[in-house]
Amino acid sequence: MSSHAASSHTSAVVGHESAHDPNLKHHFENADQQKESASIGMWVFLLTELMFFGGLFLAYFVYRQWYPAAFISASNKTDVLIGAINTTVLICSSLTMALAVHYASLGKKQLLVFFLIATLLLGGIFLGVKGYEYHDKWVHHEIPGEHFECEGCQDAGHAQLFFSLYFGMTGLHASHMIIGFGILLVLIFQANRGDFTAKWYTPVEMFGLYWHFVDIVWIFLFPLLYLIDRVGRPLL
């Protein structure tokens, strides 16, 4: 557009009026633009996370379609009660996280810290229970590989694929939980120090999105891994 367009540049300088806001990065024009950018960035990141898990889900659907008998009998070896309790725990942590964001937006520091800690604890319980389940599988030689056994499994040869997917999917999920656990610790520290205000609590909000996403993944993993056709079996 050269000289023509250049001459039409207004000399009104945008972007200095909010220079006193310590949380506004220099390259943004205003706090709104910055917040919007963070939010879009986070959502785009969750998109990549969705596709990341998508590959494992695809493998799951393909093999479940091919080897239904193996998948049913292998899935019946998981403990539904533990799975359901863990799902409940994770949903509770999603609630506490939502409330943490809620109180952050109201600028209530005490409640923010309280709910972040509650989220941390619930996440910790989830990981603990998961660890217990892994241990149980280890004891029963249900880890794929040379020493794999699946006592009483129908079509044990293919059942191994189920357990590969079980560990692949829950392992990837758990690693996301562990990363979230680490970030939560930092957030609790920052919140306690009073870094967040009703005007600026973007990190809490963004972490909330991440935490809910991890919850959603589990919402799918629970029925797919624990609840394949338990017809004729007691609920618990």
Binding site: M1, S2, S3, A5, M51, G55, P144, G168
Partner: protein, 541 residues
Amino acid sequence: MIAATVPVKEEKNYINAEHGLKSWLLTQDHKRIALLYLLSVTVFFIVGGLFAALIRLELTTPAGDLLDSNTYNKVFTAHGVVMIFFFLIPSIPAILGNFLLPLMIGAKDLAFPRINLLSWYVYMLGGTLGVVVLATGGVDTGWTFYTPLSTTYSNGYVVLTAMAAFVAGFSSILTGLNFIVTVHRMRAPGLTWFRLPLFVWAHYATSVIMILGTPVIAVTLFMLMLERGLHIGFFDPAYGGDPVLFQHLFWFYSHPAVYIMILPSMGVISEVVSTFCSKKPFGYTFIAFSSVAIAVFGFLVWGHHLYVSSQSAYAGMVFSILTYILAIPSAIKIFNWAATMYKGQVRLTAPMLYALGFIGLFTVGGLTGLFLAAMGLDVHVTDTYFVVAHFHYVMVGGAIMGYMAGLHYWWPKITGRMYSQLWAKVACCLVFVGFNLTFFPQFVLGYLGMPRRYHVYPVEFQVLNVLSSGGAAVLGLGYLIPGVYFLWSLKYGAKAGDNPWGATTLEWQTSSPPPTANFEVTPVVTTEVYDYSNTEVPHIV
């Protein structure tokens, strides 16, 4: 060309704003990060090129006399992995895109400067892992990592190589994420979507592929690593696993990845052709939407790699027809570029020569893609040198020609210096001739039936292979010369003005090299982006 209303106060620019290694390694300036990428990507280009030289040397004779089979396999694997994951994918987006995107949309920086820097470090980490693999003995799976060869039978460092590609993928995701947010939220006032330069459209489309495709290859490599390293099998036929599932997952990313390489090049060509014809690109909206169409439909054609792999014949048909439909947006671009030249004021500068070279070679690359999309013909030519020739026409004749065009076009902006037009044109011609000599005989070889990845081959294929190797030498020379005159220009090149080519996009309105903050004042856009009515046409030959 920076207008009188915005005088340049001082000579400070992004290069001399700060000094010292630390100021570069910890920089958050997108322009400096682009230069970090330029440096590291060039190193990988040279490494990948050396492997290519070894391949062509070996293939001058039918017998395996230079390298043994195992080494040859490691060499072509290294060539593929390095060129694709460490050169082609980051080349234009991470260097030119990084440098220009904020400038073109009148922003001070990308939305997340720290993530931008992180992406370079992640890239370097992946690159380091790759170098470790090369240094400790390499890997022989081919860049496609097909199972069960990679998971059970390969004798190289599969896990480490997969890790390198996995890590490099995250760098690509971070770049794509940054671009998307930047284009959505950082545009200058008045810069509406249909005023965006086509380069920006192309990069937006590329970013969509990066963030939606790359995670799938990441999880595929994750499964591959679990299977190879921990025997947690996902694809192993010994347990009823399906190697074809791996191929689906692999190509879900790797076919769109071709568009990660070619779309940014197309963006470059649109800019270069417009500038050197001093004319708005013919069919601006068609070019813009064809980029988006390629990004979306590019995700629906991957199965054309699997016609003979025991994929269902029905699915094969669907993939075939979608592939043909996907060819249309590329054809539209080519016709529009040619039409842009009609009644333009054409100046055959070095970047323009590269751009015209791109159009010619990409046309051939694209058309031969149609051969491979035809199921009955693909059965004969897939996995032969026909495929090798085809994708080199697209990636070298297309992506790298576009990269060279862009580098020559924006070099004055990036460095503030001019290079020798004469030498640049000589190099461009060498590249064009050398390239065709290298890869055209491979179409013939492929139809004759020479399979790819062959270390030794029947004697009747020798003549064509020797031609190809000879061409590769010319091509190599063509790529060396720019290295020399670019370096020369840094010290001795004439000072380039702010807008040496007579271009209209925003990056040419700031000084060369631009200041750290890009613009003294945030530009406000009031007209179309390609409005040449008030631009002088400098005569450069």
